[in-house]
C-alpha cells in the first residue's frame, strides 16, 4: 500500500487527473509526496482529482511512520479554493489482510449558513472519499512484488522500501540510508503532453460517435 506514495503515473489512470508536479521526499520517519494535478476533461466530476472544468488540486501527503498518512489538500475549482485533510491509517490484522480506516475534514468556506456548510462539507468529503477509494480498489487487488523491474522514469520504490525497513528494525540498528534525506523529482511536462493527446483523441472519438448517432437518428 505504501508504494502508492511514489507512483506518479497512477494519477492519470486511477484518479483521472494529469499530474502536473510530482516530488517525493523521504527523511527520518516521514515519507512525503508533493503533488499538483489538473482534472482530465474526458472524465469529469468523478472525484476530487477529476472535478471537471478547470479544477486543480494541490496535495501534500505524508506518511508519519509505516501506517499513518495525513494528506493536506487544496482544491481550486471555478475560482473557489477548498481546503481539506484526508487522514488514513492501515495495519495488518492477518498475514493476508489489513484494517484500513480513513476520514476527511473540510475547512468551512466563508459566507455559508450552518446548514449550507454541513451540506457542503458532507458532499465535499464524499468527493474526496471517491478519490481515495480509487486507490482502495487497487489495494484490494494487488500483491507485493519484492523485486520489481523499474524503468528510468519509475518512482523510488526501492528507496521507499528501504525507508520502510526502519520500522521493522531495532532503533539501535537503524542504518543511515533508511533515514537520510532522499528526494525524487520528475518533471511531468512530457508525459502530460502525451496524456493530453490521448485525452484529446478520446474526446474526438466521443464527438464523432455523438455526431454519428445524431445522423442516424
Amino acid at each position: 500500500m505504501v508504494d502508492n506514495v511514489v507512483d506518479m503515473a497512477h494519477f492519470f489512470y486511477i484518479h483521472f487527473a494529469f499530474p502536473t508536479y510530482f516530488k517525493n521526499v523521504l527523511e527520518g520517519h516521514v515519507a512525503t509526496q508533493y503533488l499538483r494535478t489538473k482534472a482530465r476533461p474526458d472524465v469529469a466530476g468523478a472525484s476530487n482529482y477529476a472535478a471537471g472544468g478547470e479544477s486543480t488540486l494541490h496535495s501534500d501527503a505524508s506518511y508519519f511512520g509505516p501506517s499513518y498518512m495525513i494528506d493536506n489538500l487544496k482544491q481550486d475549482y471555478q475560482g473557489m479554493t477548498v481546503e481539506s485533510v484526508l487522514t488514513n491509517c492501515h495495519y495488518p490484522v492477518t498475514p493476508t489482510s489489513f484494517m484500513l480506516q480513513w476520514g476527511v475534514i473540510v475547512r468551512r468556506p466563508p459566507g455559508l449558513s450552518d446548514s449550507q456548510a454541513a451540506r457542503f462539507g458532507s458532499k465535499f468529503a464524499k468527493f474526496v472519499g471517491v478519490g481515495f477509494e480509487q486507490d482502495v480498489a487497487i489495494w484490494l487487488n494487488k500483491t507485493q512484488i519484492d523485486n520489481p523491474l523499474l524503468c528510468a522514469e519509475d518512482g523510488p520504490v526501492y528507496q521507499l522500501r528501504r525507508w520502510y525497513e526502519q520500522f521493522y528494525t531495532d532503533v539501535a540498528d537503524i542504518e543511515p540510508d533508511m533515514v537520510a534525506r532522499y528526494e525524487f523529482e520528475i518533471d511531468t511536462t512530457q508525459p502530460v503532453a502525451g496524456w493530453e493527446a490521448e485525452v484529446a483523441g478520446n474526446l474526438a472519438l466521443r464527438r464523432a460517435a455523438a455526431d454519428e448517432s445524431r445522423g442516424a437518428g
Binding site: E27, E153, I186
Partner: protein
C-alpha cells in the same frame, strides 16, 4: 533483506553554491532528478536550517532546497553532472 534495485545508478556529488553542502545527485533524463543527502548534509543545509527554525520542528520535511536545485541545473548545463539513464547489467 529486501531485493535490490537491478538498475545501476551513477550518482555524482554536487556542491551547493549557497552554503557549500554536498549531496549525491543522479539525473536519468533532463526530467528526472534524485538527490541523496547524508544526515550531516541535511542538517547543514542553510535553507533547511531556516525552514526548520520557521516550522519549529515536526511536520513534513522541506520540499527542497532551491539553491541546491540551481546548483544541479548549473552542473548539468556546464557538463559537470552527466545526464544518464541507469544501466541494467
Amino acid at each position: 533483506m529486501p531485493a535490490a534495485d537491478e538498475r545501476r545508478v551513477s550518482a555524482q556529488p554536487v556542491r551547493c553554491g549557497r552554503c557549500g553542502t554536498t549531496a549525491l545527485v543522479a539525473k536519468f533524463s533532463p526530467q528526472h532528478t534524485s538527490v541523496q543527502w547524508t544526515l550531516a548534509a541535511a542538517v547543514g543545509c542553510a535553507e533547511f536550517r531556516a525552514a526548520r527554525a520557521a516550522a519549529g520542528g515536526g511536520g513534513a520535511p522541506s520540499e527542497g532546497c532551491a539553491a541546491l536545485r540551481d546548483s544541479i541545473d548549473a552542473a548539468v548545463a556546464s557538463g559537470r553532472l552527466t545526464v544518464r539513464p541507469p544501466a541494467y547489467e
